[in-house]
């Protein structure tokens, strides 16, 4: 993992130099090759338990798996950029470089052993995202998104740092194992308000990035204003990395004081599920609906974290993967529809099934997966999380999750109805969308994997 971090940093810089080349044709393949190299390097750490940089980073199978999800999502999102920048002057090499840097940040977030590395990773990822959110420089909505994201993010960072400082003040260490040691031994003598406060602040800082209610306010505005390609990145890579980080700090260091933090997480997860799902119902724009859906999925994932147990890690992994795949599909189809039919609302999808059965099918599978319908990965994701909640006896969380899943069907299937059961009204809209090969490939892969996870989850589950 150490090498993948170093390699990706170097590759990012190389990418900046590639920008000097006249031809852009090699840019995408080369960047994909970079990511593939990083992926292979990451996978060599499988079944090893290692520490790097003087206990700054540690890897195990879980972090390798999370890093794999992150790199694979980046590899699936990148090809969508193929025709995304019509403007020949668009600084595509810079975008790619920033994406690679943000992957570095995400990997740091899943492999950190020292909380400072968590902070660094989070910031590397966040700052890259601030820039990408504002990358559509001629669109005021994009500016708004970037500024909002930045101000909110800076606020969250401040809270996080404050918390990290307090954790250090209380325990005298930044290391996860050191914190765990402190919780196990020193803390038995009595409560430590500073530790608890520090933990609460760190949690809030991370929850902010995960757009967990009530820290979610930035999400719809930012997702909406950001160019869709980068929204897809935000909704998948950032979320996966954030949950990996949250799970890591809680599971490694703070299981001993479960009673201190579980209520905070349980309360926020209920709030997140309610707000995410109920507000999604009202949305008229598919993109905004996806923003709320990403909030609500954070709620489901939070249940798995709250129900910290033996199987939580595999639930979070499985759910993140299923969610990531379905989300990439949704955004990919959205990009195509938006470019060809000039709209992000549900009505832009009218009659898509008649002209583009493949797109409609892929999006239907993705919606089924997000809604948790069987034979897609999302179903087993929900199933595992329900089991987690029950094993921990969190029945009320289960009930909220069930109710909200039922609400979810409504807004996920609106687009399915639009595609299959509504005719397109005017003829201009009726034109068949020409699907570029890169999009077709990505959609084929994500759809296949979504179904594979739903039909044969055992392929993945058996490793954890």
């Amino acid at each position: 993992m150490f090498y993948s971090v170093v390699l990706l940093s170097i590759f990012g810089i190389l990418n900046l130099f590639l920008g000097f080349l006249k031809s852009r044709a090699w840019l995408l393949p080369v960047t994909l090759l970079f990511l593939a190299t990083a992926l292979v390097v990451t996978l060599t750490d499988w079944n090893k338990s290692l520490f790097f940089w003087n206990y700054m980073m540690s890897t195990d199978n879980v972090s390798v798996a999370f890093a794999t999800i992150i790199i694979v999502s980046a590899m699936l999102i990148l090809p969508l950029s193929r025709f995304y920048f019509p403007n020949a002057a668009a600084p595509v090499p810079e975008y790619y470089a920033i994406l690679l840097f943000s992957v570095v940040g995400a990997i740091l977030m899943v492999t950190y052993e020292n909380i400072i590395m968590l902070f660094l990773g989070l910031e590397t990822l966040s700052i890259a995202m601030y820039i990408l959110a504002g990358s559509d420089k001629r669109n005021p909505r994009s500016h708004e998104a970037a500024l909002k994201y930045f101000l909110m993010g800076a606020f969250a960072t401040g809270i996080l740092l404050f918390g990290v400082a307090m954790l250090y003040g209380a325990t005298g260490t930044f290391n996860l194992s050191g914190l765990a040691q402190y919780v196990r031994t020193t803390l038995v003598n009595g409560a430590s308000p500073m530790l608890y406060l520090g933990l609460t602040l760190v949690l809030i800082g991370i929850l902010f990035k995960l757009s967990v209610a009530p820290f979610h306010f930035w999400t719809p505005d930012v997702y909406d204003g950001t160019p869709t390609l980068f929204t897809a990145f935000m909704a998948t890579v950032v979320k996966t990395a954030g949950f990996a980080a949250l799970y890591k700090i809680l599971s490694v260091s703070f299981t001993g004081i479960y009673s201190v933090w579980w209520i905070t997480l349980a309360a926020t997860s209920v709030l997140t599920l309610l707000i995410g799902n109920i507000t999604a119902v009202y949305q008229q724009s598919f993109k905004r609906m996806l923003a709320y859906s990403s909030i609500s999925h954070a709620g489901y994932l939070l249940i798995a974290v709250t129900a910290m147990g033996q199987t939580s890690q595999s639930s979070i992994l499985f759910y993140s993967l299923a969610y990531t795949l379905a989300t990439i599909t949704s955004f990919a189809v959205l990009i195509l529809v938006n470019e060809n039919r000039a709209g992000e609302s549900f009505s832009a999808f009218n009659g898509l099934a008649r002209h583009n059965p493949f797109l409609a099918f892929a999006l239907t599978v993705a919606m089924c997966s997000l809604a948790g319908i069987p034979l897609t990965g999302g179903f087993f994701g929900k199933f595992y999380i329900f089991i987690n909640a029950l094993e921990k006896g969190l029945l009320f969380l289960l009930v909220v999750a069930v109710l909200m899943s039922a609400v979810g069907i409504y807004y996920y299937f609106r687009v399915v109805i639009a595609m299959y059961m509504r005719g397109s009204d005017d003829n201009a809209v009726a034109d068949r969308i020409i699907v570029p090969k890169s999009y077709a490939a990505v959609l084929a892969i994500t759809t296949f994997l979504t179904i594979l996870l739903g039909v044969a989850p055992d392929l993945l589950v058996r490793y954890f």
């Binding site: 940093s9 660094l120 820039i131 069930v402």
Partner: protein, 767 residues
């Protein structure tokens, strides 16, 4: 067995996906699939009847205890036979009904997918795989209801059906997972073995609630029944197959399947008896007021489903027998009536029963089918329906509270007979109107299926003995362990049951002769719509949307300052609870150093500057006084001999002020000053948050401080790194790597800033 279950999926895949090897290859050929499966299950019938254990195990997700365990016992056998048997006729019928339809392939694909899912549902021993198939039936039903998708009503109905059945599905999933956690296994057979544990468990009530919610939504029980009439927007073969004979019975099947696990408990029996009993009477009364043939059939289907749930709730051996028989009776006559309706609709284009009459002259075989089916449905002696009705009365009379139960059953049966007659007999009797003179008989494939079903209803009524040992007995065994003394008779002798049957018959037929369905009645009931559950539930759904609307406008209004307010508020509450919850903060003032004159003056300046910042109406003044605060803090650092910190603060503060001025100076002057109320609110929030942070900061002083690291750096800066400036050494040596990464971060930020600075937007582009 796996192949038998999954074959439908394979066929569906070949019909739905690009390439479509089976496309247009004679849809009649597809009928061979259900027919073959029907023969396959028939061939297993003797083994199942003999009590042989037919269990097929295929691992799926062994790590989670989820497998394809197919268990063919009496109960699943009945349903398998229904699914494949009626399925055969439906496939045969549909290929003519939708002849020439552009999406016939798609339709047949969904249909065979549904059949497979349904088979999987009734065969699964593992409750999770059962649930998977359960949801698949909901999804295929969704696509089939929306199949005639030109109309808004059709889309609405399919959404409603999916929202109700799919949403209920999640309750079921929660219930099944909960059962699995309690029992330690997802296998129904193992749950049956450990049912005592389940019934005494503290969560038994919750399990019951969740499972019933799932089953009731699927089987259209009150108050979730209203999706079913809407679902009649689907092509008629679908109504006959999914929404009458098979899918809606999945809920009934599930309740029957879980009776050995959860049954024989007051919660269970009361819930089922009350819900089922109310549904059967309510829906039967409703069917009186309908004039659309499919609507009448839909309500009488709901009523029949209520009857089945009710019988399971009664929970005696007689009730189980009655349920087993009634499932068959109902499937045969109701499917037949639906198909008859389909023919009428197909040939005349009219489903309004007030306008149909005399069709027996032009559609004779169909009329025979309709009349036979109506007779069986009405329970006329010598039909299968008669036996079913007899058994129902016997069950209610031997249960506790017999009077009430029997009365409910009697009323329902009378009304069902009426509804059956209206749908099956009324269109064919009377004078043939001019408009229907040139109506002609459809091809054989459309009139033969209903006729076969109806004739089967009569034949089984004449020879009920062929069913009791191989089919009905095993069902009862599956539900209560034994099936002693189960014998179906064509005739039970002169007794009170017979009297009840006679009353049903006379009252029902009399009612049919006296009362004709009218539009006026339909309008009357329409006026009561405002208190119907449909109205209430869709109203609630609309309420959620309105709430969502209101909530979005209130909270998600796009103003960053509003977002920050909510977040600070939440933060204050959360930290406050966390902090004060740990006990009173302990701050010992005694250990603080004394306040000197300088510090007092500086603090005074800070306070003054803050007040100016808040009160001024000029941006520049606010920024300037904010910078005063910053410089005063620098001074405080100087007093406490921290010149390096003071320098840092000084530089940063200057930079910030410059940047602030750069940006804010370009903004227009304030046009709107907040009202006093808003100011007070903001003040309260600011004071609360500030106080909390101050208390925390003071409290932190109480904690023992670990100086190990600073001591280490101070001691080793020169020894190890040969540097005299400790801070520099830390930055470039001890934490060199961090610095490098930090520089990377700055580089990224710089790229961003640079790209923004380079941006020159033409005035024209600014909108």
């Amino acid at each position: 067995m796996l192949l038998a279950v999954l074959s439908g999926f394979l066929v569906a895949a070949s019909l739905l996906f690009p390439g479509r090897p089976l496309k247009g290859k004679g849809s009649v050929l597809l009928t061979l699939l259900p027919a073959g499966l029907f023969i396959y299950f028939c061939s297993l019938l003797p083994q199942a009847a003999a009590g042989e254990r037919l269990f097929f195990h295929y691992p799926w997700v062994p790590a989670m205890g989820v497998n394809f365990d197919f268990w063919l016992d009496g109960l699943s056998m009945v349903f398998c036979l229904l699914i494949t048997g009626i399925g055969t006729l439906i496939f045969f019928y549909a290929s003519s009904y939708l002849k020439g339809h552009p999406y016939l392939d798609r339709f047949l694909g969904y249909l065979s997918m549904f059949m497979s899912a349904m088979l999987g549902l009734v065969l699964s021993d593992n409750v999770i795989s059962l649930f998977v198939f359960w949801e698949l039936t909901s999804i295929t039903s969704f696509f089939l209801i929306g199949f005639n998708n030109d109309s808004e009503a059709s889309r609405k109905s399919s959404m409603l059906a999916l929202a109700i059945t799919g949403g209920g599905g999640f309750f079921l999933m929660a219930g099944l997972v909960l059962m699995g956690t309690v029992a330690g296994s997802y296998s129904v057979q193992e749950m049956i073995a450990g049912n005592a544990l389940m019934k005494n468990h503290a969560l038994y009530g919750v399990i019951c609630f969740l499972v019933c919610a799932g089953a009731f939504t699927k089987s259209a029980q009150f108050p979730f029944h209203f999706w079913l009439p809407g679902a009649m927007k689907a092509p008629t073969p679908v109504s006959a197959y999914l929404h009458s004979a098979t899918m809606v019975k999945a809920g009934v099947y599930l309740l029957a399947r879980l009776t050995p696990v959860l049954g024989n408990h007051p919660y269970w029996s009361l819930t089922l008896m009350i819900t089922g009993g109310f549904t059967m009477v309510y829906a039967a009364v409703h069917s009186l007021f309908r004039t659309d043939l499919k609507s009448i059939l839909a309500y009488s289907t709901i009523s029949a489903l209520g009857m089945l749930v009710f019988l399971i709730g009664v929970g005696t051996g007689e009730a189980f027998t009655a349920m087993a028989v009634f499932v068959l009776v109902h499937a045969l006559y109701k499917a037949s009536l639906f198909l008859v309706t389909g023919v009428i609709d197909h040939e005349t284009g009219i489903r309004d029963v007030t306008r149909l009459s005399g069709l027996q002259k032009v559609l004779l075989p169909v009329a025979v089918a309709g009349v036979l089916a109506a007779l069986s449905g009405g329970g006329i002696p010598l039909t299968f329906g008669f036996i079913g009705k007899d058994l129902i009365y016997e069950a209610t009379m031997r249960a506790g509270n017999a009077g009430l139960l029997t009365a409910a059953a009697l009323l329902t049966n009378i009304l069902l007979l009426y509804a059956g007659f209206v749908a099956g007999i009324k269109p064919f009797t009377g004078r043939l109107s001019e408009a229907f003179q040139d109506v002609h008989l459809p091809p054989l494939s459309m009139w033969l299926p209903p006729l076969l079903l109806a004739v089967a209803g009569v034949v089984l009524g004449l020879f009920p003995g062929v069913l009791d040992v191989p089919v009905v007995g095993p069902v009862v065994t599956a539900m209560q362990g034994t099936a002693e003394g189960i014998h179906l008779h064509i005739w039970h002798g002169f007794n009170f049951t017979l009297l009840l049957s006679a009353v049903t018959l006379v009252a029902g037929v009399g009612f049919y002769l006296l009362r004709k369905p009218t539009h006026k009645a339909e309008l009357t009931i329409g006026r009561l719509g405002f208190i119907s559950p449909q109205r209430l539930i869709t109203g609630a759904a609309r309420g959620v949307i309105r709430f969502s609307d209101w909530f979005t406008i209130l909270f998600q209004n796009g103003y960053l300052r509003v977002y920050l307010q909510y977040i600070v508020l939440f933060l204050t509450v959360l930290l406050g609870i966390r902090y004060l919850g740990e006990g009173r903060p302990e701050i010992s003032v005694s250990q603080f150093s004394e306040i000197t004159v300088y510090e007092g003056v500086v603090s005074g300046v800070i306070l003054l500057a803050i007040l100016v910042t808040i009160l001024t109406s000029s941006r520049l003044t606010a920024i300037a006084s904010l910078s005063v605060v910053g410089y005063c803090i620098c001074l405080l650092f100087v007093f406490y001999s921290a010149p390096d910190l003071a320098m840092t603060q000084f530089t940063i503060d200057t930079l910030t002020v410059v940047l602030f001025v750069l940006v804010l100076f370009k903004l227009p002057a304030f046009t709107k000053i907040s009202t006093t109320a808003v100011k007070v609110r903001d003040m309260v929030m600011a004071v609360a948050f500030g106080t909390l942070i101050t208390i925390i900061a003071l409290e932190v002083l109480e904690e023992p401080v670990n100086k190990e690291i600073s001591r280490y750096y101070a001691e080793n800066a020169y020894v190890l790194a040969k540097g005299k400036n400790v801070v520099n050494v830390i930055l470039v040596d001890f934490r060199g790597l961090d610095t490098m990464v930090e520089i990377t971060v700055l580089t990224i930020a710089a790229i961003g800033v640079f790209s923004l600075l380079k941006l020159k937007i033409n005035p024209a582009e600014k909108e």
